[in-house]
Amino acid sequence: MHQKKSRFRIGNSQLIAPYIFVAPFILSFIIFFSYPLFQAILMSFQSVLPDQVTFIGLDNFKKLNNPSFYKALYNNFRYTIYTVIVLIPIPLILAVFLNSKMMRLKNMFRSALFLPALTSVAVAGIIFKLVFSELDGALMNTFIQWLGFDSQKWLYYPGLSMFALVVIATWRWIGINILYFLSALQNIPKELYEAADIDGAGLFSKFYKITVPLLKPITIYVLTITIYGGFAMFTESYMLWGSRGSPQDIGLTMVGYIYQQGFQYFDLGFGSAIGLVLLVITLGVSMIQLKFMGLFGKED
C-alpha cells in the first residue's frame, strides 16, 4: 500500500487514472443498483402479488392522479422550501461564529448542537410527540403561553404541524450542516483575512468577499442535499404521527406515501410508480439547481 518510489506504470497515465478512481462507484452501481432499479421500473408497470404478477401498463401511473399524491407532493415542496430557508444561512453564520477568534468553548457548543442527530428515531419520536402535545403543560404550549398566545393543537392543523416538522428538522440537522461549513472554513487560508485586514476591510465585507465565495462548493453541496432531504423526508413525519398516517394527511410525504401504498396496503407496483416519480422530480430539481450554479462546467 505504501508507495515510495515503486509505482505502477498504469497509475501514471492521466487518461486512465480517473477511471481507476471512480471504479468503486461504477462497480457498486452495476452490482447493487442497476438490477434493483430495473426491477423497480418493471414493478411500476405491474400489479405485484404473491404468485400473481401481472402486467397492467400505465395503470399505476394513472392512479397517481389523486388528492393524496398531490397533498404529499405539496407537503414535501413546502417543507423543502422552509428547510432551505432555515437550514442553510443559519448554520453558515453559526459556523462562522464558531470559527471566529472571539468564540469561547467552541468544542462544547459544536458537540451540543451536533448531539440531537444521534438520538434514535424511536425515542426522539416519543419526546417530540410530548413536546408538541396539545396539553397546556406541554413544552411548546408552555412556551407560546409565555409569549402570550393560547395553547394550540399542533398535530391537527396544517400550518402548525408544518412548523413542528421544521422545528424537528432544524433540531436534528443544524449541527450537521454546521459541521459541513466548519470543515470548509478550516481550509480557508488565514493569510487571506490578514491581507484584507491590512486593506482595512470590515467584518461584513470580509464575510462577503472572502468567506462566501470560498464556501461556494460546500454551499452547493448543502443546498443539494437539503433539497433532496426535503423531498425525501419521512422520518420527521413518522416521529410525530407514526406509521398510521396523520389527520387529513397533513403529515403525508412522498416517501410516507410509498410506504403506505407499498407496504401498508401491499400495492408494490403503485409504490414503485410513486418512487420513480419522486426520483425524477428530485433529480430534476437538483439538476436544474446545479446547472444554474454552473456545476457541470469544465473547471480549469
Binding site: 402479488l49 416519543i126 387529513q248 407496504f263 401498508q264
Partner: protein, 451 residues
C-alpha cells in the same frame, strides 16, 4: 503536516485490514438459511435428548408474546419428549416485521415457520395466492370451545389461516372514587341513554368529564357500532361506513362531546402517554377499551390501583350487546415451513389448548379465546391484575360472553381504518363537523378510490 495525513491514512488502512480480516472470520454471523438447508444439528448436548430437536422459527413484534411462546415450547417439550421443539423467536419492530414478511412471502425466501400477524395487517396476506397455511384441521374440532369470531377474522372463503391470542372483549373501566363522589352507581348505567343521564350528574358534581373518546383512533366508534351488529366493512368486503347504525352511534357520541359529558382523550387516543398521565391524575370518570388495556392501567397508571372497577359496556337498546371483541394478533404458519405438521401441532397446543389459554391469562393478562377456562380456578389466583382491579374480572367477562359480535376484516380494511382514524374521527371530534355529512362524504370518497 503531510506526515500527519499519512499517519491518518495508514491508520485507516491498517484498521480496515484488521476489521476486514476479522470480518471474514466471524463477522458473517449466522449463515444464510437457504431453503435447502435446515440446520438442526446444533443441539449441543443440553441433556441428552432422545429425539432430535426440530428447529422452528417464530416472528413476533411483542416481546411478551415471544416469552409466552417460549414458555409454551418448554411445556410442549415436557409433554412430548418424542418430538421436541427448539423454538427460536425473533422480536422485530411492528411495521418492519410485517414489511419483511410481505417481502419474504413475495420472494418465496426467508419467511419463518410461524408468525404473529396483527389484525389490521392481516388482509394484506390474503391478497394474491395466499402464502399462509390452512389450519382447518386443527381449528374446526375446537370451534365449539372458543369464541368463534376470533378465528373468523383470520379466514377467507371458509379457510382458517390464523388463531388469535385473545378475545379483546371491550369493557367499561370506571373510576370508583369519582363515581362515588358524584353519587352515581355504575350498575345503574345499563344503556347509552343512561350515560347521558348519569354522565350529566358526574360532570355537575365533580367537574370532570364522565367519559373520553379517541380523537384520532378507532377504539371508540368501532366497538360502539359493533354492539349494534354493524361494521365499517361489510361481510363481502365493501365499504359500509355510512350505515345508519354507524351514523346513529356517532351522532350520539358527538352530542355527548357537545354537552361536555364526554371529552376527547388528550393525545387524541387512549394508548398515548398524554392520556395516561391525564387519567392517572383522575382526569375522567370512565373509559371503555378492550380487555388488553388492563396492562396499561397496571403498568402505566399506577396511582389508580384499587380505584378502577370493570363492568360491561352500556347497551344501545334493551337486550342489546354489552361488549365487542377488538384488536388482536393471529398466529399463522407460512407455506415456507419445512415442518408443517409439527408447526401446526405446536400452534394448536399454544393457542387452542386449555393449558395454553390459561397461560394467556397468567402471562399476558389477556382474555383467552377458549371460554371454558374463564371459570377455571387458575383465573382467580392472585396476580397483578387481581391486585389492581379486584377478583371479579372474569365475572364481568362471563356476563357478556355471548354478546360479542364478530368483526369483518377484509382486503379494503387497511384503507378504511386509515380513513376512520385520519379523516372521519378528527373531522368530527377535532373540527366539530356534522357526523352524518362527514361519514357519507368519506364513504363515497373510499368507494370511488377503491377497486
Amino acid at each position: 503536516m503531510s506526515k500527519k495525513g499519512n499517519l491518518l491514512l495508514s491508520l485507516i488502512l491498517a484498521v480496515s485490514m484488521i476489521l476486514t480480516a476479522c470480518g471474514s472470520n466471524n463477522g458473517g454471523g449466522n449463515t444464510p438459511s437457504t431453503p435447502t438447508e435446515t440446520s438442526n444439528s446444533n443441539t449441543e448436548g443440553e441433556g441428552k435428548t432422545e429425539a432430535e430437536q426440530t428447529n422452528l422459527t417464530l416472528w413476533t413484534f411483542v416481546q411478551q408474546h415471544a416469552d409466552f411462546y417460549l414458555y409454551m415450547a418448554d411445556e410442549w417439550n415436557q409433554a412430548n419428549p418424542d418430538k421436541p421443539i427448539k423454538l427460536v423467536t425473533e422480536n422485530i419492530p411492528y411495521d418492519e416485521m410485517h414489511t419483511r414478511l410481505l417481502i419474504a412471502l413475495q420472494t418465496k425466501e426467508g419467511a419463518p415457520d410461524l408468525v404473529d400477524i396483527e389484525q389490521s395487517k392481516f388482509p394484506n396476506f390474503m391478497k394474491g395466492e395466499v402464502q399462509l397455511v390452512e389450519l382447518n384441521d386443527v381449528v374446526e374440532p375446537e370451534l365449539s370451545n372458543i369464541v368463534k369470531s376470533r378465528v373468523d377474522i383470520y379466514s377467507q372463503d371458509g379457510k382458517y389461516y390464523g388463531v388469535d391470542l385473545h378475545v379483546g372483549a371491550t369493557v367499561m373501566f370506571y373510576n370508583k372514587e369519582i363515581m362515588d363522589q358524584a353519587g352515581v352507581n355504575p350498575d345503574d348505567i345499563k344503556l347509552w341513554s343512561d350515560v347521558e343521564k348519569y354522565g350529566k350528574i358526574v360532570v355537575e358534581k365533580t367537574g370532570k368529564p364522565f367519559i373520553t373518546f379517541e380523537g384520532a383512533g378507532n377504539w371508540s366508534w368501532w366497538p360502539a357500532i359493533n354492539q349494534l351488529e354493524s361494521d365499517q366493512v361489510s361481510v363481502d368486503g365493501k365499504v359500509m361506513l355510512d350505515d345508519e347504525r354507524n351514523i346513529r352511534a356517532m351522532t350520539f357520541f358527538k352530542k355527548l362531546v357537545d354537552e361536555g359529558i364526554a371529552a376527547i382523550a388528550p393525545g387524541a387516543g387512549h394508548d398515548t402517554p398524554e392520556y395516561k398521565a391525564y387519567m392517572n391524575a383522575e382526569g375522567a370518570a370512565s373509559v371503555f377499551m378492550p380487555f388488553w388495556f388492563m396492562n396499561r392501567f397496571t403498568d402505566e397508571m399506577p396511582d389508580l390501583k384499587g380505584k378502577i372497577i370493570i363492568k360491561p359496556m352500556p347497551a344501545w337498546d334493551e337486550g342489546g350487546n354489552r361488549s365487542a371483541g377488538m384488536g388482536g394478533t393471529g398466529l399463522s404458519i407460512t407455506n415456507q415451513t419445512k415442518h408443517l405438521e409439527l408447526a401446526k401441532e405446536f400452534l394448536a397446543y399454544s393457542k387452542l389448548s386449555k393449558e395454553g389459554n390459561i397461560q394467556v391469562w397468567k402471562q399476558l393478562g389477556m382474555d383467552p379465546i377458549r371460554t371454558e377456562v374463564w371459570t377455571d380456578p387458575a383465573m382467580s389466583e392472585p396476580n397483578k391484575f387481581t391486585e389492581y382491579f379486584g377478583n371479579d374480572i372474569f365475572d364481568t367477562l362471563l356476563e357478556v360472553k355471548d354478546e360479542i359480535y364478530p368483526v369483518n376484516i377484509r382486503e379494503i380494511s387497511p384503507q378504511v381504518f386509515d380513513s376512520v382514524r385520519n379523516e372521519i374521527i378528527p373531522r368530527i371530534f377535532q373540527f366539530g363537523e356534522d357526523p352524518e355529512t362527514v361519514i357519507k362524504e368519506e364513504a363515497d370518497k373510499l368507494r370511488k378510490s377503491l377497486p
